[in-house]
Homo-oligomer: 227 residues x 2
């Protein structure tokens, strides 16, 4: 350490991950039984301490993988939480990350490597440790804001999806029911998705066309204020 | 400290502040001569270490005030920078904050309390210490994005301003010249500002009407994607 840094007080640094998935038209978040004191056994986000020789992003990925087996999913830094009394165990600054996954491909309602996890609907969360409730709230705000301007909702879906599945994802994110016909019209106007020549036959006799995200979506999503 | 936390490695935590101001139609950032090793004497953002008994927001405010005398200005957390090699002095995680101030009311091109500071145009920055160049870049992105959807540009102006001053601020933020007539039309359409009954007589014989931010601006800025 440089001499000039010697008189500074080191602080514990942690990473916590908010993992969102959509089940039907419900937004869910993945919670764990906390495995250390204080508050051992209570519901918690996925988190742990950052090691000295890993970056924050690396820590986020390592912790997510070690607790869930998940990797290569959408993950973004949310905010750094640093109130002095947020953790009764010690002064801990926590960098929160948020992730989106396609729940239909990831059945995590099971124990993974002996870690007890469960998907909770965001409108029916249990009591949470520390400031994890605040973290989820902030992540939901970010998810809603970002959904308006970027096609991140598609991270919650399989690569090919029906219009109904897409609408369910938007309903889950905004927490309200949307008008079916209105939704189809707006999505079509925005030129956000591309219809494939094949159908999903699992839900009706007529079948439902499958769609993929339009590769040129970025040209269509610029709802600028001044330009 | 809780026993369960004993085996974790504490990390140094710092705060760095990006302070933006507009001078004419140039976006400027306030830089300081760094006062400690490594890289003492080089240009740097305003920053220092977080103390164990203060929150991150408190640290940001304390450091800004102690180096510039500035307080009660727009300040928001930007991002937490945590690559392992970002600071050759030691492993330091830095939480960057960004601020906007009305430069016309704050002449900081002077030494403050013996700290040497200078406003640099963002398109003509000197070599910067550590990853401070990256921090400024990220803050500019955030400023540009946020300007599209929230009236934060007004933080860079005096409370009463001319249409020309407002346009200069938008030009400074986006780094390009705007068409005068087009700009006035769009601002008027958006119902973002309110014209006062008085004029600024300093720049022309005819005088220029003064404006204030419309208190109801939040009703006019919702350029939602799906609603």
């Amino acid at each position: 350490m440089t001499a000039a840094y010697l008189h500074t007080e080191p602080i514990l640094v942690a990473v916590d991950s908010i993992v969102f998935g959509v089940d039907g038209n419900k937004l869910r978040v993945l919670l764990f039984r906390r495995e250390m004191e204080p508050a051992s056994g209570e519901w918690s986000l996925i988190g742990s301490f950052v090691k000295k020789n890993e970056s924050l992003d690396e820590a986020g990925k390592r912790i997510l993988y070690s607790l869930t087996g998940l990797e290569d999913i959408y993950m973004e830094q949310l905010y750094c939480f640093g109130n002095t009394k947020r953790d009764p165990g010690d002064r801990v600054v926590s960098i929160a990350y948020w992730s989106l996954i396609d729940i239909t491909n990831n059945d995590l309602e099971l124990e993974y490597d002996n870690h007890q996890s469960k998907w909770f609907a965001v409108d029916d969360l249990p009591e949470l440790v520390l400031d994890h409730g605040q973290m989820i709230e902030k992540a939901m705000e970010r998810l809603r804001r970002k959904t308006r301007f970027e096609p991140i909702a598609f991270e919650l879906l399989p690569k090919e999806f029906t219009m109904k599945q897409l609408m369910n994802v938007y309903e889950a994110i905004y927490g309200e029911e949307l008008d079916d016909r209105n939704f189809r019209r707006k999505i079509t106007q925005k030129n956000l998705v591309q219809r494939l020549a094949k159908k999903d036959w699992s839900t009706s006799k007529k079948g439902s066309y499958l769609y993929v995200l339009n590769k040129d979506f970025h040209k269509t999503l610029n709802s600028d204020f001044l330009y």
